[in-house]
């Protein structure tokens, strides 16, 4: 496409509205406007210039702020919809979601589930929305940044009269011999920390130009953030596992490929005590009943030495002992273990006595490890007990057979075969909590309950997230960009002499109040009149109240 040569001699790219150097209007259709559109300095943006090929159309679609805002609004509404009912990850895990939503919330819950809103934030269409926003951010930024950068770089001190007159803040003062005034103004401008440039006696004072890059910087931050969020799906970048660890137990840290092992010494639950803790807490404790003070797992971290050999016990090297509390995870080698849940007094061992029913005489105690029961327990000479079947979480199945709901010993039941000198073939006894059945006829002996041992269990989340630093970097860049764009303003003041008149024009990308205040300070004690706000003048019904 043809480049546009301005009267001032500067060659502008095709599509430029205001000459980059002098500010002359190059687009005749805008000649009637009283004020020039300064948003992107009238520079040539691709999206405003080309609209022929399919690439142009896609580019223009994504570079449009209108489209961007619509995408934001749609995402906003969609996000809100996802909070109407709890997401699937927050409902109790023991009920299937299709039942849960209908049970709890009726037809609405059912509909919510059927529409897939119970997993809204990981739905394909939500992810597409985010991707579209990302694309829009990227294209819109490229479309604007480069022309804007070029324009601000090429701008000259002397601007064409038509450019100055069409600025929002503009004023003309008649006056001759104003050299001293100009010197005063330059001094004032420098005092206000303006960067002052001079050319043929004309002045361009500028400050805070870097704030114009704020939006692009923060958009880069957002893109980096989104890239970081995407990297989670790359294998090896992200681990999210849960492990239930009993006191005294050593387990592989899931997600570490057998590299690390954890053992729990103990789990501690502390609550606030009215007597010992601050007296001011008494009322709150009375009202709530019990307020937790600390959840803590005392653990030891081990590293495996040597290679994994299936079926063989790994050789472990102790790395460190730690106390994992809420807000204080254990950290090692990019892995972190968090205290997330607990279970107090879980059944661990059950003790039973082999007893003669008639005499009540006992012939020894059996201690069944409910997680690792032995097949046979030898007692006194001639006495032994065989564990024929074990149901950790006992229930009668539909066919009447005993079965187990889970592998957690919530309700242990056993089928024992008791061998005694007078019954060498053994007697079979079914033993569950508070009940004994003798399926093969009356026995002479029975297993009597003699006590339990319980243990606390800690639930730890094992996490590795190699994307964190990228996401954090994205956040930092975003914040820098936002602050850069929001807390600084790009202000320019032009002063030009022509035919015994002084033209003063001002432009800022925002905070016109601040610009006017600057100008008033600059022209203090000079003959220059306060410039008018042409935008306010245009619609002004409130003259004289200008602050």
């Amino acid at each position: 496409m043809a480049e546009v040569k301005c009267e001032c001699g500067h060659v502008n790219p095709h599509g430029t509205v205001l000459c980059e150097a002098c500010g002359r209007l190059l687009d005749e259709t805008q000649a009637d406007n009283k004020l020039v559109e300064m948003r992107y300095e009238g520079s040539a943006r691709r999206s405003q210039t080309y609209n022929k090929t399919i690439v142009d159309k896609i580019w223009n679609f994504f570079s449009s702020v209108k489209v961007g805002v619509w995408l934001i609004v749609i995402t906003l509404v969609a996000s809100a919809v996802g909070t109407i009912l709890p997401q699937e990850m927050y409902i109790p895990p023991n009920v299937p979601p299709e039942q849960h939503y209908e049970q709890e919330y009726g037809w609405f819950g059912k509909l919510y589930y059927q529409l897939g809103f119970h997993n809204l934030y990981s739905s394909w269409w939500y992810l597409i929305l985010i991707a579209l926003i990302g694309t829009s951010i990227l294209i819109a930024s490229i479309d604007r940044f480069f022309p804007l950068y070029r324009s601000l770089k090429k701008q000259k001190v002397s601007r064409h009269e038509s450019f100055l007159k069409r600025q929002r803040v503009f004023g003309i003062t008649k006056g001759e011999n104003i050299e001293t005034d100009f010197e005063e103004i330059k001094k004032n401008l420098r005092n206000q920390r303006y960067n002052v440039r001079e050319e043929n006696g004309n002045i361009l004072a500028e400050k805070g130009r870097f704030s114009r890059w704020g939006p692009y910087v923060n958009h880069i931050g957002l893109i980096v953030f989104l890239i970081g969020a995407m990297l989670r799906f790359v294998p090896g970048m992200y681990v999210d596992e849960l492990v239930w660890l009993r006191e005294g137990e050593t387990k592989e840290m899931p997600g570490t490929k057998g590299e690390y092992y954890l053992s729990s010494e103990k789990f501690i639950l502390e609550v606030y005590d009215k007597e010992k803790d601050d007296k001011d807490f008494t009322a709150a404790i009375d009202k709530t009943g019990m307020i937790a003070k600390n959840y803590q797992s005392d653990v030891t971290l081990y590293e495996r030495v040597g290679k994994v050999i299936p079926g063989e016990k790994p050789e472990l090297k102790k790395i460190k002992e730690d106390q994992i509390k809420v807000n204080q995870p254990l950290k090692h080698d990019r892995y972190a273990a968090y205290q997330v849940d607990y279970k107090l007094d879980e059944l661990n061992k059950m003790k039973l006595n082999l007893t003669n029913k008639k005499s009540g005489e006992q012939f020894g105690m059996v201690t069944v490890d409910l997680y690792n029961p032995k097949p046979k327990y030898e007692l006194k000479k001639g006495y032994s007990v065989e564990l024929m079947s074990y149901f950790p979480d006992f229930e009668f199945a539909e066919n009447g057979e005993p079965s187990t709901k889970s592998r957690i010993p919530n309700n242990p039941a056993f089928i024992f075969k008791m061998f005694t000198p007078d019954k060498p073939k053994g007697e079979v006894s079914f033993v569950a909590i508070k009940q004994t059945l003798e399926p093969l006829g009356d026995n002479d002996y029975k297993m009597t309950f003699a006590g339990i041992e319980t243990k606390n269990v800690s639930a730890l989340t094992i996490r590795k997230d190699l994307t964190l630093w990228i996401i954090f970097l994205g956040g930092v860049i975003f914040m820098i960009g936002v602050v850069q764009g929001a807390y600084w303003n790009h202000r320019r003041i032009w002063l030009q002499k022509k035919d015994g008149e002084i033209m003063l024009a001002g432009h800022t990308n925002k905070n016109w109040h601040g610009l006017k205040r600057d100008i008033n300070r600059v022209i203090e004690n000079t003959i220059i009149d306060e410039p008018a706000d042409q935008l306010q003048e245009k619609k002004s019904a409130n003259k004289g109240e200008d602050n």
Partner: protein, 392 residues
């Protein structure tokens, strides 16, 4: 210490109320209007506000000393802190623009926010394990400060609309502006009703069947207009509910909502009878000397300053803490989502304003919607949508 603390809060509350009247006097006073000077009323008004603010800081510090942690750990403390930040933000903006009108509208909102906060349990409570972190102070204070500065744009937007909306004939604008007024009156109605019955020590206990058809207890502190599912009144000499709701709905909360709306309607009705015109119409003369462009700019600057602070506090600091306490920086918890919604909304606001030229009235309406979103996240998410953030 706890006693001193609540007294200081009370003093701050009263001072904010008094300061409002001085600011109202300041904009009625013709002197000092045209010159760029503050008049005497305004100077007294801002002085009282600052003293009130200092008193509230005193409340904050003494309560911190009493409890051993920054008092931002439950709904009462957080909402009060939000009110304090609102006044703080107002003082800063006032110092820049010297507009008493902003005081007339910001301070009552702050007063209402603090009054509303006191309707929640005010006991000093120890910190549960999840809250025992320095990030509590960092995250909550920055988030509240950001929200408070954004709320200033609501006050500015309200002033803008009060002046710019034509009250001589009914329109969509007059309706929605009046709806805003009604909402504020309803909040006041709720505070009045709740305070009255709490002073009377009203209590009515119910036994009812919950949604799993299990007997449960509910303790009402407002007379039961709406009773729980198959509720049986346990307290003698108290009124029987007028209506009953299915087990799915939380009857006690519903009852509070109904009371607030009834009180709001009654209060609004009385005000309308006295004024004989829309509240907004009555307030219009109060703001007739306001420079619309200036108010527009104040609203915009409030968003410009508040948006980065909000992002830092409610998203970035929040994510850092969530990674430490909850193992992941983002988990789509309702409060998190609503912080994201607030962020998206103000991002849209800024884009519309900067690139599509939504100034003046449009921008003011957006500021109103933004405030609704903030208040929704502040209060409704905790009360209606249970989640990880339900600390009240």
């Amino acid at each position: 210490m706890a006693q001193i603390s609540s007294n200081l809060l009370y003093i701050a509350f009263v001072l904010y109320l008094v300061a409002t009247f001085f600011f109202a006097g300041a904009i009625k006073d013709k002197r000092g209007q045209t010159e760029k000077k503050q008049n005497k009323w305004a100077i007294i008004g801002i002085s009282i506000t600052v003293i009130g603010f200092i008193a509230q800081i005193g409340y904050f510090i003494t309560r911190w000393i009493a409890s051993g942690h920054a008092p931002v750990s439950n709904l009462f403390e957080f909402t009060t802190f939000f009110g304090m930040m609102l006044v703080g933000a107002f003082i800063v903006i006032y110092m820049i623009y010297k507009t008493p009108a902003l005081g007339v509208f910001t301070l009552p909102v702050a007063v209402l926010v603090i009054a509303y906060a006191s309707m929640f349990p005010r006991d000093i409570s120890p910190l549960i394990p999840a809250l025992q972190s320095d990030w509590l102070h960092i995250h909550v204070t920055t988030a509240a400060a950001g929200e408070a500065i954004l709320a200033i744009s609501f006050a500015a937007g309200l002033i803008y609309l009060l002046k710019s909306v034509d009250q001589s004939k009914r329109s969509k604008s007059t309706f929605w502006l009046e709806a805003t007024m009604f909402t504020l009156v309803t909040t006041l109605g709720f505070v009045l009703v709740a305070t009255t019955f709490s002073m009377m020590d009203y209590k009515a206990d119910f036994i009812y069947m919950d949604k799993n058809n299990i007997e449960a207890k509910a303790s009402y502190t407002l007379p039961p207009l709406i009773g729980p599912h198959e509720g049986k009144l346990q307290t003698p000499d108290k009124m029987e509910p007028l209506a009953e709701v299915p087990a799915m709905i939380n009857a006690k909360k519903m009852n509070t909502v109904v009371w607030s709306i009834v009180a709001g309607i009654v209060l609004y009705g009385i005000i309308r009878l006295i004024l004989r015109k829309r509240i907004a119409a009555k307030l219009q003369p109060l703001v007739k000397n306001i420079n619309l462009d200036l108010v527009d700019e104040i609203g915009y600057r409030a968003v410009m300053i508040g948006f980065p602070i909000f992002t830092l506090g409610a998203l970035i600091f929040a994510m850092i803490w969530a990674q430490i306490a909850w193992t992941r920086f983002w988990g789509w918890d309702p409060k998190e989502v609503w912080a994201l919604i607030t962020f998206l909304f103000y991002a849209a606001f800024l884009h519309l304003r900067l690139s599509r030229g939504w100034h003046g009235e449009k921008s003011a309406w957006l500021a109103m919607i933004g405030f609704i979103i903030i208040m929704f996240n502040l209060i409704a998410v905790n009360l209606i949508i249970a989640g990880l953030h339900s600390y009240a």
